[in-house]
């Protein structure tokens, strides 16, 4: 049978019809996993061009922060990348500590490392399992979500909340880890490797998954650098830049871990990089637990009374404690003038805080360098010319979090 020749559509002169189709992926499309819009020009199954529209959940955090005392800005950082809120919280505390010049005891840094790496695992678990969902494999997603819940249980027992954690204070933690917290952490550490291994065996060498992911949305190292990519998306294209190694904070230089890199920067490489990072995070937590042995278990914050709410019993009986309590609650602690830029390795890349202080009780200017916002602009370049179904898995594999996109 002779195959019918493909007929180009001939449009009449002055027709309002077009040869290509415009479709809206978003703002509320299940494939976007967040509120942002892609106006796509498609020709059959091929994507010709994408125009990204963001700003649907812009909440003016930078403006709000200019009226908030430093301790109250933490709640704003929760809502940036809400899949790994504790990393944002710790990053903000470290920025203020850098401005003040506060040194932390080793135990506080190790506790922070444990919390941040747990958050990274939770972040990567969501991203990688959602790539599975978008390629048609729902089971791994429902399976690993239980362990993400267990991480949230750990957060809950540390600070009382699960998603938007507002964890820690400037100078340390609000309270020490309880025995229940430690039990939960050890339970998690005992069970998680088997889960991650099973997750990998469900997806990594799965024929359908590989066919859908390999070659989808690639970006070269040169282009990724030019687009200011950071985090797993940059490393998937072969650049070994990780803030934890390049500019270590929170004593990361004492830990032994590898930075996984990919080669082609496609969806499959991003998936693999995130998976290996979860193993590395797991090993970092193990090392941190080992380092904590032999340290004084009662230390959980630096000696910084001007930022740290005193014990209630002291507030009622001691003069200084009462003064500090009043100043902290009313937000009347002045910080030294100056400006700092501090970056941490967030779930999606370099999360930077540019803080300008004029010596007052609130930041004069605070800018968040949000990795999502910066790399999402390259989405058009990554998907143009590819298949529409590739665009969907690319979107989930670059892990665009709407909260971080819009600030």
């Amino acid at each position: 049978m002779v195959e019918k020749q493909h007929q180009h559509i001939k449009l009449a002169e002055n027709s309002i019809e077009k040869e290509t189709t415009t479709i809206n992926l978003g703002p509320t499309h299940p494939a976007t996993h967040g509120i942002f819009q892609n106006i796509m020009e498609i020709d059959g199954e091929r994507v010709l061009k994408t125009e990204m529209t963001v700003g649907y959940i812009h909440r003016a955090f930078e403006k709000i922060a200019e009226r908030r005392p430093y301790s109250q800005v933490t709640t704003l950082t929760d809502r940036l990348n809400y899949c790994s809120a504790p990393i944002n919280n710790m990053g903000w505390h470290m920025t203020v500590e850098k401005l003040v010049g506060l040194e932390l005891p080793p135990r506080v840094d190790y506790l922070r490392v444990i919390v941040m790496e747990l958050a990274r695992i939770a972040d990567h678990l969501i991203c990688n399992s959602v790539i599975g969902v978008d390629t048609g494999a729902l089971t791994p997603f429902t399976y690993v979500f239980q362990w993400r819940e267990r991480i949230y249980d750990i957060f809950e027992s540390i600070c009382g909340s699960r998603l938007t954690t507002n964890m820690g204070r400037i100078g340390g933690f609000e309270r020490n880890f309880t025995d229940e917290t430690w039990k939960k952490i050890h339970d998690f550490m005992d069970t998680f490797p088997a889960v991650l291994k099973e997750f990998e065996s469900l997806l990594t060498r799965n024929r359908i998954f590989m066919d859908r992911c390999i070659g989808a949305g690639p970006i070269s190292a040169e282009r990724a650098l030019n687009w200011s990519f950071t985090g797993p998306n940059l490393r998937a294209s072969g650049v070994d830049y990780d803030v934890r190694v390049a500019q270590p904070y929170s004593r990361y230089n004492e830990f032994d871990f590898k930075i996984p890199v990919g080669t082609t920067g496609d969806t499959y490489d991003r998936y693999l990089v995130r998976n290996i990072e979860m193993w590395e995070s797991f090993s970092i937590i193990q090392q941190a637990l080992e380092k904590l042995k032999g340290l004084d278990a009662s230390v959980f914050h630096a000696d910084a009374p001007e930022f740290y709410l005193p014990e209630k019993v002291d507030v009622y009986s001691k003069m200084e404690a009462l003064i500090y309590h009043f100043k902290i609650v009313m937000g009347e602690t002045d910080l030294p003038p100056g400006e700092v830029y501090h970056a941490v390795e967030g779930g999606n890349g370099e999360l930077g805080y540019y803080l300008v202080s004029d010596g007052g009780r609130t930041p004069y200017r605070l800018h968040f360098r949000r990795p999502c916002f910066i790399y999402y602009q390259a989405f058009n370049e990554m998907v143009a010319g590819g298949l529409f179904s590739d665009a969907v898995v690319t979107l989930s594999s670059i892990n665009v979090i709407a909260g971080e996109l819009d600030a």
């Binding site: 963001v54 700003g55 812009h58 003016a60 930078e62 403006k63 709000i64 200019e66 009226r67 850098k98 282009r223 650098l225 030019n226 687009w227 200011s228 990519f229 650049v239 830049y241 390049a246 500019q247 009313m330 009347e332 100056g338 400006e339 700092v340 830029y341 970056a343 370099e350 930077g352 540019y354 300008v356 009780r361 004069y364 200017r365 800018h367 360098r369 916002f373 910066i374 790399y375 999402y376 602009q377 390259a378 370049e381 819009d406 600030a407």
Partner: protein
């Protein structure tokens, strides 16, 4: 790390009058706003600052003639050195050059800076608002726009000297 002296020497060879300072461990340099593209291109091509970390602005309403400060963070990944460039422009004519010809990633960073501060990036391919609504006719991160409604009487901050 590139030391301050080395970088200062190399910058002097290319552009007169640039003064590097060390601001809490970060190299910092004030540059003229109309030369920013030349200087950034030179840093990018000759001195290995191949990574654009961030572009933003700060508003200092008291500084006559240099109210808006455009802050650019560059990063030399090989030498692991960060550099902060500051360019001051008057609020009446906030013009500077776009870095999009050197860094593709500057596109949305500059749109965001335009959106909130009204900096006019000459040569930008698509300088539109990005996070705020298109109909907005002011630049909300400038200091004259207060967070709280100034007519509210139930929030008296005078007692706390704010």
């Amino acid at each position: 790390m590139i030391s301050l002296e080395t970088l200062q020497e190399k910058l002097k060879g290319a552009y007169e009058g640039l003064q590097l300072v060390d601001n809490r461990g970060m190299l910092e340099c004030e540059i003229p706003a109309d030369k920013n593209l030349d200087i950034v291109s030179y840093l990018h091509k000759e001195l290995g600052f191949q990574f654009l970390t961030d572009i933003t602005a700060v508003h200092y309403p008291e500084a006559q003639g240099r109210e808006l400060c455009i802050v650019t963070h560059l990063h030399n990944l090989v030498e692991n050195t960060r550099l902060r460039l500051k360019a001051y422009v008057p609020v009446a004519q906030p013009d500077t050059h776009s870095l999009t010809s050197v860094f593709s990633g500057a596109n949305w960073m500059e749109r965001e800076t335009y959106d909130f501060f009204g900096i006019n990036f000459i040569g930008h391919p698509d300088l539109r608002r990005i996070l705020n609504v298109d109909e907005m006719d002011y630049f909300p991160m400038r200091k004259e726009y207060q967070m709280e409604d100034p007519t509210r009487l139930d929030k008296d901050d005078a007692m706390f000297g704010r």
